[in-house]
Symmetry: C2
Subunit: 437 residues, 2 copies
């Protein structure tokens, strides 16, 4: 097998919502809410933001830097003219996927928050529900629908609208062929119950019955030191993910819903082998008094049955694949975030594939088969398998210019000293509670 | 090499301070403070606590369960009659070490807090300083001094008394042959500066010059879900440790003090291989704009030069030893905490040694050589090498009864539902701020 023969499904990329989403809201929200439709505003300082219910939310910065030279990633692009069009334009996005050899992609939201938390902070729950549904419709029909077979649609759970509402939305999404639902790892911070009780059972049941995957994307910055430099943030994302994964494992969910599927986005996979070893140690060592009970299985087995992790480039994860379980590893591109390896993702990945000596069947599992199975997605429905490879897609993209260029930035836009990114994440927004968490 | 040939130095065990420490305070504090000497009090409900400055601090529970059957670990021992004497009596402790084949041990404090944080919350800094110094004297001369060659002494840093004071104490400890100093990973939570500035340089300089190891022991419960079950706590300790390790790596400390030594206690080591891979990815991927600079080295190399991790049983850590660097791995026993593998620690360890096929030189490194080198400790100063092995020590301990037994518990003592241990940790204490953190 050669690099050009790879088939790539990315389970974690991001859409920077285009201004046309504002038109979609205006045209598709119930009539009584048309005046309150969220829209893009350009502010006096030249920055763009989404205006919703009196809040202004900005979502550029490190979330949209691919296409710029790395030297200027800290320059904080702040409007639609300062970012590569592939970040927000669906046609350019597909061209950027082609040039990177990526067949299909899961796209997380930007300004709604990774778990959709900004949509559900309204006190007007009926309005919030309309916004979430309309956003999901736009995502499925307009964004993903423009290029059949190129996207795995991802709906927002609207978690703060309550488990019953969420269950209904999970079923509605599934009826439209959407089998991925973005939840929030810290729903309890938004006034909801945590995941250790039975409050969410109705939602988990809907997910289990429809085959929907509950997806949790990380990006929070809890408990960092006051002066942590930027590098700490991407460095510890896997370990924050591990802590959440532990909460899931010891919650009643997996034992109560034997077929439910979860996915952890952005967290890497090199930690999972040790995570599973430690889980079994804790179970063996403490169960006599904690009365934890996984029946005839070990916690590690139960975790493998229910969770899929993903990685950008992860040699340790490859090397520990036997311990971890290769069926739970799925590749991600993370375009257009700063951690992305675009436009040389295949080359970066191939190096680790060779170093870890993955077999052809193993390569297929981690690059597309695991993702396709988990998300109930047939990559060859709309084109032949031969048309889906890195080589075939790149052959269509010979006119795509990937040369890094300066797209400009607003004057006030440079990240100070690369200090704690919370400063930068929150500066351009008036919605600060839970921002990026 | 056979199991009986192992030489074991444990870099993480715990002393439950005996009531006689109260006498030592009374006899050795400056005259003006004698009336304020901390002491053990038995309360009306039958529980024991340390009384200091109007606070009462209890330190039993899961911190002192070895010797009980696991079924009763949740029964929450609450006074000195309800715990195995080896937890607090130095002569019984050495017998418990012998029967477990452990030659030498680093002992962390119990009621002062793992980082000594409860000693330094007094508003009377002169009094707090006297308490820390007197405790350190007791630990070195009375506790460790009773059995030369069986303990690696560990001093408290008194971090909240300020970097100048801490520097002076580090030098005083070194002059007494103590080259391990317990610091707090979250000093900034106690009003001190975090570790990203130059405020602590004078203390780091004292550590570098004396060869003292700055030791950070984990045990906090930050940001757990409100209803997290107990098992989450030991399961995620390694990942909390990894997050702190990242803060250290990207702080200026290692680059500014090229010979300084740190140690991370209780955190396991199976995560370190991936941690280092990710550190190098972040450096390579973001340094163009973050301007991080590790000179002619990679972050992974710098980390290996400065940090030692430790493990109870860690097959993943063994299997990733080449990636991680075997020189940074050191064994721990964790007696008498609930995670300890006492009294069959050699057997548990041996199984992983065989499974990972460690060579004899590798075995010596992880069981004693790395610890001895890091802490400037000569294990054979007081006895021949032949007298130091598991087999030789156990031969002296044939009369030690390790049969688990019920030591009794107070009525109110059962941990409720094994819910978040914070409830249990804090229930018997009036000192709650930062307890166990």
């Amino acid at each position: 097998m050669q690099l050009d023969d790879l088939i790539l499904i990315s389970v974690d990329d991001h859409v920077v919502e285009p201004p046309s989403l504002g038109d979609f809201f205006r045209d598709n929200l119930p009539a009584k809410y048309k005046d309150r439709a969220p829209k893009v505003v350009r502010r006096d300082d030249g920055t763009d933001a989404w205006a919703i219910e009196g809040q202004e939310i900005s979502t550029f910065g490190l979330n949209a830097v691919q296409g710029r030279p790395p030297e200027s990633w800290g320059a904080d692009p702040a409007n639609f003219d300062q970012v590569r069009p592939g970040t927000y334009d669906i046609h350019e996005r597909v061209r950027d996927m082609n040039v990177n050899g990526v067949l299909a992609s899961v796209n997380f939201p930007s300004w709604p928050g990774l778990g959709g938390q900004f949509f559900v902070q309204s006190k007007d729950m009926d309005f919030a529900a309309a916004i979430v549904r309309t956003y999901n419709d736009w995502h499925i029909h307009e964004w993903c629908g423009a290029y059949p077979g190129r996207f795995i649609p991802l709906g927002l759970s609207g978690f703060a609208l309550g488990p019953e509402w969420m269950a209904e939305e999970i079923r509605r999404l599934a009826s439209m062929g959407c089998f991925a639902v973005s939840c929030h790892p810290e729903a309890y911070r938004f006034g909801a119950a945590d995941y250790h009780g039975d409050e969410w059972d109705v939602a988990w049941q809907a997910a289990e019955e429809t085959g929907a995957v509950m997806v949790f994307h990380f990006g929070g910055m809890p408990n960092f030191m006051p002066r942590s430099p930027f590098s700490v943030i991407p460095h510890v994302m896997p370990f924050q993910t591990a802590i959440f994964a532990s909460e899931l494992l010891w919650s009643p969910i997996f034992r109560k819903f034997p077929k439910i599927k979860f996915a952890l986005a952005e967290g890497g996979v090199g930690w999972i082998g040790y995570f599973l070893e430690k889980a079994d140690f804790v179970y063996d060592h403490h169960r006599a008094w904690t009365h934890e009970d996984f029946g005839d299985k070990l916690p590690s087995q139960v975790f493998r049955e229910h969770v899929q992790g993903c990685f950008i480039d992860d040699l340790t994860g490859f090397q520990l694949r036997e311990r971890t379980g290769i069926d739970m590893l799925a590749w991600e591109c993370d375009y257009p975030h700063s951690d992305s390896t675009w436009p040389t993702a295949p080359e970066v990945l191939w190096k680790s594939i060779e170093q870890a000596a993955l077999s052809d069947p193993e390569i297929h599992k981690v690059t597309w088969e695991n993702a396709a199975r988990w998300y109930n997605f047939d990559p060859f429905e709309h084109r032949s398998r031969e048309e889906c490879t890195v080589g075939a897609l790149r052959a269509q993209a010979t006119d795509v210019d990937t040369t890094p260029r300066e797209y400009g930035s607003t004057d006030h836009g440079r990240i100070m000293d690369t200090r704690n990114a919370a400063i930068f994440m929150e500066r351009n927004s008036t919605a600060t509670h839970g921002r990026n968490a």
